[in-house]
């Protein structure tokens, strides 16, 4: 009786401030599959540029010693990650501004040295996570190498959400299970993911094998399967011109998906929409 409303109001405001802070936090996506050639880099490049075009401050980080992210944007490979981790240079010094709202921490063969340095460090699993904390970006996308090493684990630990691009063949789907097993092990050590998504790439809806594998992954993973990205030869040309899909062929089926009646099914534009749903909660 007669209890003051102030404490209740304070709690409410306190909760609201937490909510506001959470909305402004950086969301980190890792693009991972231990199997190579499944479209990790293309997916990371396309979605990063897509987010940047929607005015989200976006950072792409190349964790692969092949350094293909830089090449995808028509740049030379460079040891950005090496400078960040091994030479202790600040993030703002090592990023390259590559498009409006889009920065890159490039990689090259010196990324191999990063792995060696991390292996010798204390608290080695969370080094990347610490380096990317308070970066000021809206979204960070980590392009992971097709391997299972200390840098890969660092990427998975830094990530809030893991996107697993996969071709729809038996071997690639096995790679999905491997990543999920690794994520489960990391989860047992206390890391909490906000979620994961499986992204079928090189999708060809006319083959029976695609249907069989598609049925299988949707049966097992349900709503974790994102709309697939149709196969399109223009994706291969895009990298050769050092442009993103939004620049080189925004009307390709890989971007726009299949036309089914009046609706579009699949494609990077739809995937970008799913990603925004994750980011904006």
């Amino acid at each position: 009786m007669g209890r003051p409303l102030l404490p209740i109001l304070c709690v409410f405001l306190y909760d609201e401030s937490i909510l506001t802070l959470r909305v402004k936090m950086t969301m980190i996506f890792a693009f991972a599959n231990q199997k190579g050639g499944v479209g990790k880099t293309t997916t990371a490049v396309t979605l990063a540029d897509g987010l940047a075009r929607l005015k989200r401050r976006t950072l792409l980080v190349d964790l692969d010693p092949q350094g293909h992210l830089a090449l995808s944007f028509g740049l030379d490979k460079s040891p950005g990650l090496y400078r960040l981790v091994c030479l202790d240079e600040p993030l703002s010094e090592v990023v390259q501004s590559i498009r409006p709202n889009l920065d890159l921490v490039a990689g090259d063969k010196q990324t191999e040295k990063v792995k060696r340095q991390i292996t010798l460090a204390d608290f080695r699993e969370s080094i990347l996570s610490d380096l990317l904390a308070n970066s000021g970006y809206d979204v960070i996308l980590l392009d992971m190498a097709p391997s299972l090493d200390v840098l890969h684990i660092n990427g998975l630990i830094a990530a809030d959400w893991v996107v697993i691009p996969t071709r729809l063949d038996a071997l690639a789907v096995d790679g999905v299970k491997e990543i999920l097993t690794t994520m489960a092990e990391i989860g047992q050590n206390g890391h909490r993911y906000r979620g994961y998504s499986i992204l079928p790439t090189f999708f060809d809806r006319t083959t029976r094998e695609t249907l069989i594998q598609f049925e299988e992954i949707t049966r097992i993973f349900g709503s974790n399967v994102w709309p697939p990205v149709p196969q399109d030869t223009r994706v291969r040309e895009t990298a050769a011109y050092g442009q993103t899909l939004w620049e080189y062929s925004p009307d390709s089926s890989s971007v726009e998906g299949y036309l089914d009646g009046r609706q579009r099914l699949g494609g990077y534009r739809q995937v970008l929409g799913r990603m925004l749903e994750v980011i904006d909660g």
Binding site: L211, F214, S223, P227, D260, R262
Partner: protein, 132 residues
């Protein structure tokens, strides 16, 4: 009491579900005899060719009913009668023989400036003719 059979439901992304359904349908069709496959293919092509001609409008029930009854009486497709009616209206409007001013009333909707409010003799015209 017989226990209802429990069916496990998987929730899918709507685009994934639509794509999967379409692929499964095509797969089923591919196992049909050639004649049936060709028939389905023709039907699909017919539906697709008509897709751009389709439109959805809110019409009073009496107008729809009047159109349906007239189409049945004349043994004509209702769509063709609707096309004729609309085409004649558009021609007459462009000729200046139809004045919408008498039906216009200001709209409170943010999307439209005006509403057309019809007198009963227009809205119920189809039904009356049928009755007479």
């Amino acid at each position: 009491m017989v226990e209802a059979k429990k069916v496990r439901r998987t929730t899918l992304d709507p685009a994934v579900a639509d794509l999967l359904k379409g692929m499964q349908q095509k797969q089923t069709e591919s196992q049909l005899p050639r004649r049936e496959r060709e028939k389905l293919s023709r039907e699909r092509a017919k539906i697709q060719s008509r897709r751009d001609q389709r439109a959805t409008y809110d019409l009073p029930r009496s107008i729809r009913e009047g159109l349906r009854v007239l189409a049945e009486d004349l043994r004509l497709p209702a769509s063709q009668l609707a096309t004729l009616a609309l085409a004649r209206f558009l021609n007459e409007y462009q000729n200046g023989s139809i004045d919408l001013g008498q039906y216009k009333q200001p709209s409170r909707s943010p999307r439209y400036d005006w509403n057309l409010v019809f007198p009963e003799e227009i809205v119920f015209a189809g039904r009356r003719k049928k009755g007479s």
